[in-house]
C-alpha cells in the first residue's frame, strides 16, 4: 500500500470516527452551541418519568401574524388580565417571556384519585425582587428546600363543597432567567434534578424520540403518555373501555401566517392502529361533509390529511388553519355581537 493510499484511508476513517463521535456526544447530552440534543435546555429540569411534556415558544407565538389576528378575538377581560400582570409584577407576556416548558408528573400506576402534580418552567426576563415582594404581599410563605428559596402559597379552591386547598409554589432556577411554577412536591423534584439526584427526561429514549420527531419546525409541541392520562381523567368505566389502546401521543404546531399542526398517536399494536385509523378517517369524512356548505370551514376540512405509519403503529392527522379562516371567524363573531 502506498503512503498516499494509507494517508487517504487514515483521513477518511478519521473523519468518519470524528463525525460519529460528535453525533454520539450530541445524542448523549449534546455539545453546547453546536450539536445540542432535541428540545430546549429546560428539559434538564424535567424528570424522566414525566407523563406529559410541552413546549411553547412564546416570543414567536406572540410575534406571529396569527397571534395578531387572534388578538382581535380576545375578550377585554383577557387583555385587562395581561395589563394587571404587567403592572403588578412587571411581566409583559408579549415581550418578557421567551418560551415555556410544562410537564405533568404521574406514575404509570397512579389512579384517578391520586393528586396531580406538575409545573411550568418559563425562560425570560423577570424582575425577581418585584415578583418575590408581590408573592409576600399576597400571603406567600418563603421556604427553603436544600438551600434553595421557594415561595409557597396556599390557594383555597373554589370548591366550597369540599373546602380543598391547592398549594402552589414558585422558585427561580437560574438567578432571574428561569422560573418554575407548580405544586410544591413537583418543585422539590426540580430542585433535586439540579443536584443531579434523579434522571432527567433526556434519559427517557421514548419521550426524547417523540420530541425529536415533533420539534423540528414547530414552535409549540406536546408529547405524553395517553394511557397514564386516561387513568387520571376521571372518565366513566364505560368510556375508558371504549378508548382505543393508545400508548403515546404527540402534537406540534407551527404558528406564523396561519397554523399548521400535526397530531399523532401511537397505538399499542398494529390492530389497534388500524382500528384507530378507520375511526379517525370516519370523523374526517364527517367533518368534510359538514364543512362543505361553509366556505370558511371548508378550507380547514380539506387540509386535513390522515397518515398511518405501520412501522411504529402511529396514526397522524395534519391540518392547516389559514389566516383567511380566522378572518371568517372574526366576521362571524362580529355578526353575533351586533345588536339585533
Amino acid at each position: 500500500m502506498t503512503k498516499r493510499t494509507r494517508y487517504f484511508m487514515i483521513g477518511s476513517v478519521g473523519f468518519l470516527t470524528l463525525g460519529l463521535t460528535v453525533g454520539l456526544a450530541a445524542y448523549y447530552g449534546g455539545i453546547r452551541g453546536f450539536a445540542e440534543p432535541a428540545g430546549p435546555e429546560e428539559l434538564n429540569y424535567v424528570p424522566s418519568d414525566a407523563a406529559v411534556v410541552a413546549f411553547a415558544n412564546v416570543r414567536q407565538l406572540m410575534d406571529s401574524q396569527f397571534r395578531q389576528q387572534v388578538k382581535g378575538l380576545e375578550s377585554a377581560d383577557h387583555q385587562k388580565g395581561q395589563e394587571e400582570l404587567k403592572n403588578e409584577i412587571g411581566i409583559d407576556i408579549e415581550r418578557d417571556i421567551d418560551y415555556v416548558v410544562a410537564c405533568m408528573l404521574a406514575s404509570p400506576t397512579a389512579t384517578s384519585t391520586d393528586a396531580r402534580s406538575g409545573y411550568v418552567l418559563a425562560r425570560g426576563n423577570f424582575d425577581r425582587p418585584r415578583i418575590e415582594a408581590f408573592i409576600r404581599d399576597k400571603g406567600g410563605v418563603e421556604q427553603e428546600y436544600r438551600g434553595r428559596k421557594m415561595f409557597v402559597h396556599a390557594e383555597v379552591a373554589a370548591t366550597a363543597t369540599t373546602g380543598a386547598s391547592h398549594e402552589m409554589a414558585l422558585t427561580f432556577i437560574d438567578s432571574k432567567k428561569v422560573v418554575a411554577f407548580g405544586t410544591p412536591a413537583a418543585l422539590h423534584r426540580v430542585i433535586d434534578l439540579q443536584f443531579a439526584d434523579a434522571q432527567t427526561v433526556r434519559a427517557n429514549p421514548e419521550v426524547m424520540k417523540l420530541i425529536g420527531s415533533v420539534e423540528p419546525g414547530n414552535n409549540a409541541w406536546v408529547v405524553g403518555r395517553f394511557d397514564v392520562l386516561s387513568k387520571q381523567a376521571h372518565l366513566p368505566n364505560e368510556v375508558t373501555s371504549q378508548l382505543p389502546q393508545v400508548t403515546w401521543f404527540s402534537a406540534g404546531g407551527h404558528v406564523n401566517g396561519g397554523l399548521n399542526a400535526v397530531v399523532a398517536v401511537q397505538a399499542r399494536d398494529e390492530e389497534a392502529a388500524k382500528n384507530l385509523q378507520q375511526v379517525v378517517a370516519g370523523f374526517i369524512a364527517l367533518a368534510r361533509m359538514q364543512a362543505s356548505a361553509k366556505p370558511e370551514l371548508n378550507a380547514i376540512a380539506q387540509s386535513i390529511t390522515l397518515s398511518n405509519d405501520t412501522s411504529n403503529n402511529t396514526v397522524a392527522v395534519t391540518f392547516t388553519l389559514p389566516l383567511a379562516a380566522l378572518d371568517a371567524l372574526k366576521a362571524a363573531k362580529t355578526m353575533l355581537q351586533e345588536p339585533k
Partner: protein, 292 residues
C-alpha cells in the same frame, strides 16, 4: 605432492515455496488493488457522483440560512426540516442511484479491467487461488467506495440536519442506520456485479440494464417479481432508517410493501454470499483468451 582435499560445499536446501493461504492471498490482492482503484480515472467519476449530494446539501444549507424555504410546509410539518431532507437524500440519491451506479461501475470492472488491460495473466500466474483474486479485488472495491461514500454522508448530515429546526442528536440513530444501510448496499450490489463482471461478455451494459432497467421497472409492478431485485430487500430496511415525518408519508406509501427487517437482512446476506461465491467460481473455471 599432497593434494588438499577441498570439502564440498554443503548442499543448499531447496527453499520451501508454499503458496500463501487463501486469506493471505486475498489480502495481498486487496493491498495491491486498493491503491490502483483509489488513484484511477474512475475515482474522478466516483468523486463527482458523491459530491453531488454534498453540493445540493450546501445549497439547502445556504438557502435555509438566508431564510428561503423556511416557511415551506406540508401538512403540519416543515418540509425543510433537516432530518426530512437528509432522509430524502439518502433514499433518492444514495440508495436509488449512487450505490447501484458505483456497484455497476466498480463491481463489473474488478476482473474485466484486468482482462481489458491484458494484465490478468500476471495475477493468474501467481501461486494463489483465483478465487482469492476476486475476493481481494472485491474487498478493495468495498473499501474504496465506502471510504468515499460514507464520509460524504457524514458531511451531508452536518450540513443538512441542523436546518429547519432539526437536531443532530435526534437524527443520530438515523445516521447510524443509514451508514449501515449504505454499507450493506455497497456490499450486496458489489457482489452481484462482481459476478456479472466475471460471467458476462459485456458486463457494464448488463449491469446498467439490471440496475436502471430491471430494478427500477419491476419495483413499480405489483407481484412477486420484485423479489428478484436487490432494491426490494433494501427497501425493507429503509422505512426504519428514514425519519418518521408526515411530510414523507408519500414516500412511505411507496415502500410499504416490503419485507420485515430480519427477512430483508437474511436475503441480502444470502445474495451477497451467493454472488461472491459465484464470481469466485466463474473466475476459477473460466479460460480467459486475451485478444492480441
Amino acid at each position: 605432492m599432497a593434494v588438499e582435499s577441498i570439502p564440498a560445499a554443503p548442499p543448499v536446501p531447496a527453499r520451501a515455496t508454499r503458496p500463501p493461504s487463501f486469506v493471505t492471498a486475498a489480502f495481498r490482492v486487496f493491498d495491491l488493488s486498493l491503491g490502483q482503484m483509489l488513484w484511477s480515472r474512475r475515482t474522478i467519476f466516483l468523486a463527482l457522483v458523491v459530491s453531488a449530494p454534498v453540493i445540493l446539501g450546501l445549497i439547502v444549507r445556504i438557502l435555509t440560512s438566508v431564510g428561503i424555504g423556511g416557511s415551506v410546509r406540508l401538512g403540519g410539518s416543515a418540509v425543510v426540516a433537516g432530518p426530512s431532507i437528509f432522509g430524502l437524500f439518502i433514499w433518492l440519491l444514495y440508495l436509488r442511484f449512487i450505490i447501484p451506479v458505483l456497484g455497476v461501475f466498480y463491481g463489473t470492472s474488478l476482473i474485466a479491467d484486468e482482462v481489458e488491460d491484458k494484465t490478468i495473466t500476471y495475477l493468474f500466474t501467481r501461486p494463489i487461488a483465483r478465487g482469492a483474486v476476486v475476493v481481494g479485488k472485491y474487498l478493495a472495491y468495498l473499501a474504496a467506495t465506502s471510504l468515499v461514500v460514507l464520509p460524504s454522508v457524514m458531511i451531508l448530515y452536518f450540513l443538512v440536519v441542523p436546518t429547519g429546526g432539526g437536531s443532530l442528536a435526534a437524527a443520530f440513530p438515523a445516521l447510524v442506520k443509514d451508514l449501515a444501510l449504505l454499507g450493506i448496499g455497497l456490499a450486496v450490489y458489489g457482489s452481484l456485479f462482481a459476478w456479472v463482471g466475471a460471467q458476462f461478455k459485456y458486463p457494464l451494459v448488463t449491469g446498467l440494464v439490471f440496475a436502471f432497467g430491471w430494478e427500477q421497472g419491476i419495483m413499480v409492478i405489483p407481484g412477486y417479481l420484485k423479489r428478484f431485485t436487490i432494491a426490494y430487500y433494501i427497501q425493507g430496511l429503509v422505512p426504519h432508517a428514514m425519519p418518521q415525518d408526515s411530510a414523507l408519508s408519500i414516500l412511505q406509501l411507496v415502500v410499504r410493501d416490503s419485507l420485515s427487517v430480519p427477512m430483508s437482512l437474511f436475503w441480502l446476506g444470502f445474495i451477497f454470499v451467493l454472488f461472491l461465491a459465484l464470481a469466485a467460481r466463474a473466475v476459477s473455471r473460466r479460460e480467459y483468451v486475451l485478444e492480441q
